[in-house]
C-alpha cells in the first residue's frame, strides 16, 4: 500500500490536535481568561478616565494579547514531547516543516482565534471607537498567527529543557516587538481617523515572512532539541 499522502497526514494531524484541544478544553480556556483579566487590570491600575483608556487601549489589548499568546505557547509541543509522540513526528516520512504548519495552525485556531472573538468585549471595556475596534480585529487576525509562528520556534528550542518555560519569554518577546508596534499603532491611528493601510500591509508582510520561514526554523529547532 502507498504511504499516506502529505495532505492526508496534514489533515489527520490537524484533526488530532483539534480533538485533543477539545478534550482538554478546560485547560485551553486559561489563556483566554488571562487575556480578559490582564486587560481588565489596567483601568483598575491607572484609573478609568475614558479618554485615557481610549488613548492607551490599543497598546494594552495588544500587550495582553502578547502575554496570552506566550502563556499558551507551552502547549504546542509539551504534551507530544512528554508522551513520545514528538519523536514519532520527527521520524515520519513526511517533511517535518509541513507537519509544523499543521501543529501551529491547530494551535492558532485554539488559542489565537478566541482572542479575536473576545476582542470586541475588550474594546468596549476600554472605550475604543468602532473604527478602532474594526482595525483591532484586523490586526489580531493578521498578528496572532505571526505570534504563533514565531513562538513555535521558541518552544521548539526549549521543549526538552527542564526550565524551558522561564526562558521562553526572554527568547520570544523581543521577536514580538515589530508585531506589537505595527498593530498597536494601526489601531491608535484608526482611532484618530488616520490611514492604516501601511501598517496593515506591514503586518501582512510579517505574516507572509513568518509563514514561509518559521516552519523550517521550527522543524530544525525541534530536531536539535530532540537529538
Amino acid at each position: 500500500m502507498k504511504p499516506a499522502t502529505l495532505p492526508q497526514a496534514f489533515a489527520i494531524l490537524l484533526r488530532r490536535d483539534l480533538t485533543l484541544a477539545y478534550r482538554r478544553r478546560s485547560e485551553m480556556i486559561n489563556p483566554l481568561l488571562f487575556f480578559v483579566l490582564v486587560t481588565a487590570m489596567f483601568p483598575l491600575g491607572i484609573g478609568a478616565d475614558p479618554a485615557l483608556l481610549r488613548d492607551i487601549g490599543p497598546g494594552i489589548i495588544w500587550v495582553a494579547a502578547l502575554l496570552a499568546s506566550l502563556l499558551s505557547l507551552e502547549t504546542v509541543f509539551r504534551s507530544d514531547f512528554d508522551d513520545g509522540s514528538l519523536e514519532q513526528l520527527l521520524l515520519s516520512p513526511h517533511p517535518l516543516s509541513i507537519l509544523m504548519i499543521a501543529k501551529v495552525l491547530a494551535h492558532w485556531l485554539v488559542t489565537g482565534l478566541p482572542l479575536l472573538i473576545v476582542a470586541p468585549l475588550l474594546s468596549v471595556l476600554l472605550n475604543l471607537s468602532h473604527e478602532a475596534m474594526r482595525t483591532l480585529l484586523i490586526t489580531l487576525a493578521l498578528g496572532t498567527p505571526v505570534l504563533s509562528l514565531i513562538g513555535a520556534i521558541g518552544v521548539a528550542l526549549t521543549v526538552g529543557l527542564r526550565k524551558g518555560g522561564t526562558i521562553l519569554s526572554l527568547l520570544v518577546l523581543p521577536l514580538y516587538v515589530p508585531v506589537l508596534i505595527f498593530a498597536a499603532s494601526a489601531v491608535a491611528n484608526s482611532d484618530a481617523g488616520l490611514p492604516v493601510s501601511a501598517h496593515l500591509s506591514l503586518l501582512a508582510a510579517l505574516l507572509v515572512l513568518a509563514t514561509s520561514l518559521s516552519p523550517a526554523a521550527t522543524a530544525a529547532s525541534l530536531r536539535i532539541s530532540m537529538s
Binding site: 520556534i153 528550542l157 526549549t158 526538552g160 529543557l161 526550565k163 524551558g164 526562558i167 526572554l170 527568547l171 518577546l173 523581543p174 521577536l175 516587538v177 515589530p178 508596534i181 505595527f182 499603532s185 506591514l202 510579517l206 520561514l213 526554523a217 530544525a220 529547532s221 536539535i224 532539541s225 537529538s227
Partner: protein
C-alpha cells in the same frame, strides 16, 4: 593556505596558535585605544552645540557598532558550526555572545550618560537606544539558552538557530522601532546623532572602532581558549598541558 585553516580548525592547534596571537592583538588594541582616546579627548574640537559632553560618543558609537557586528559574527559562526559541524565555529559563537552583550550594555550606559546633560533624564526612548535594548535581550536570550541546555553540542546548535532567527529579525526590529519613534515624537526633538562631522572628530571615531575590534579579537580568543580546554578536557593533549603545570 587551506592546510593552515584546516589546522586552525583543530582545537589543539587553535589553542597553540591563538596563544601566540593574543599578546600582539592586545598590544595593538592598547595602541589604537590610546591613540583614539588622545584624539577624541584632547585633539578633537569642542562642539558648539553640545560642548565637551559629546565626547562620550567616541565610546558610545563604536560600542553600538560592535554590538551589531558581533551579533552578525556570532550568527555566522553558528551557521558554520551547524552546517559543517566544525567545533571551533561553535566555540567562537558562544565566546562572542558574552562580549557582544557587554558591548551592548556599554552602548546603553554611554548612551544614557550622553543623554543626561541634554534632556536631564537618564533614559529616553530614543530609537537607537531602544533598538540597543532589544538587542541586549536578544543576546541574553542566546546566553540563557546556552546555559539551559545540558549537552554542550546541543546547546551550541540550538543557540546557532536562535542567533540566525535573531539576525533575520534585527533589521525588522530596527525598522519598526525607528517608525515607532517617529510616531511618538517627544516634545523635544531628539538629536542623538553626532554633531556635524568634522574631520577631526571622524579620526578618533575610526581609531576607537579599530581599537574595539582588536579588543573583541583579543578577548574572544581568550574566551575561546578556555572553552576549548573545557570541551577537550578528556583528551591527551590537554592532559599533557595540565601536567606541565604540576
Amino acid at each position: 593556505m587551506i592546510h593552515f585553516f584546516h589546522q586552525l580548525a583543530s582545537p589543539k592547534h587553535f589553542y597553540r596558535i591563538s596563544g601566540k596571537w593574543i599578546p600582539w592583538l592586545g598590544l595593538a588594541c592598547l595602541g589604537f585605544m590610546l591613540a583614539g582616546l588622545y584624539e577624541g579627548l584632547l585633539v578633537a574640537p569642542t562642539d558648539y552645540q553640545q560642548g565637551d559632553s559629546y565626547r562620550i560618543m567616541f565610546i558610545h558609537v563604536p560600542a553600538a557598532w560592535m554590538s551589531l557586528f558581533i551579533y552578525v559574527v556570532m550568527a555566522g559562526a553558528g551557521v558554520i558550526g551547524l552546517v559543517w559541524r566544525i567545533k571551533l565555529a561553535e566555540v567562537m559563537a558562544i565566546s562572542s555572545a558574552h562580549i557582544g552583550a557587554s558591548f551592548t550594555f556599554l552602548a546603553l550606559i554611554t548612551g544614557s550618560i550622553w543623554g543626561k546633560p541634554m534632556w536631564g533624564a537618564w533614559w529616553v526612548w530614543d530609537a537607537r537606544l531602544t533598538s540597543e535594548l532589544i538587542l541586549l535581550f536578544l543576546y541574553l536570550g542566546v546566553i540563557a539558552l546556552y546555559n539551559a541546555v545540558e549537552d554542550r553540542r546541543t546547546a551550541a546548535r540550538a543557540t546557532s538557530i536562535l542567533a540566525l532567527v535573531g539576525v533575520v529579525n534585527i533589521p525588522i526590529i530596527h525598522y519598526s522601532v525607528e517608525w515607532w519613534n517617529t510616531l511618538h515624537q517627544g516634545p523635544t526633538v531628539t538629536k542623538f546623532d553626532a554633531p556635524s562631522i568634522d574631520m577631526r572628530m571622524l579620526i578618533p571615531l575610526l581609531l576607537m572602532a579599530v581599537a574595539f575590534k582588536l579588543f573583541y579579537a583579543t578577548v574572544v580568543l581568550m574566551r575561546a581558549r578556555v572553552e576549548v580546554l573545557q570541551r577537550e578536557r578528556n583528551t591527551g593533549w590537554v592532559h599533557e598541558l595540565v601536567s606541565k603545570y604540576e
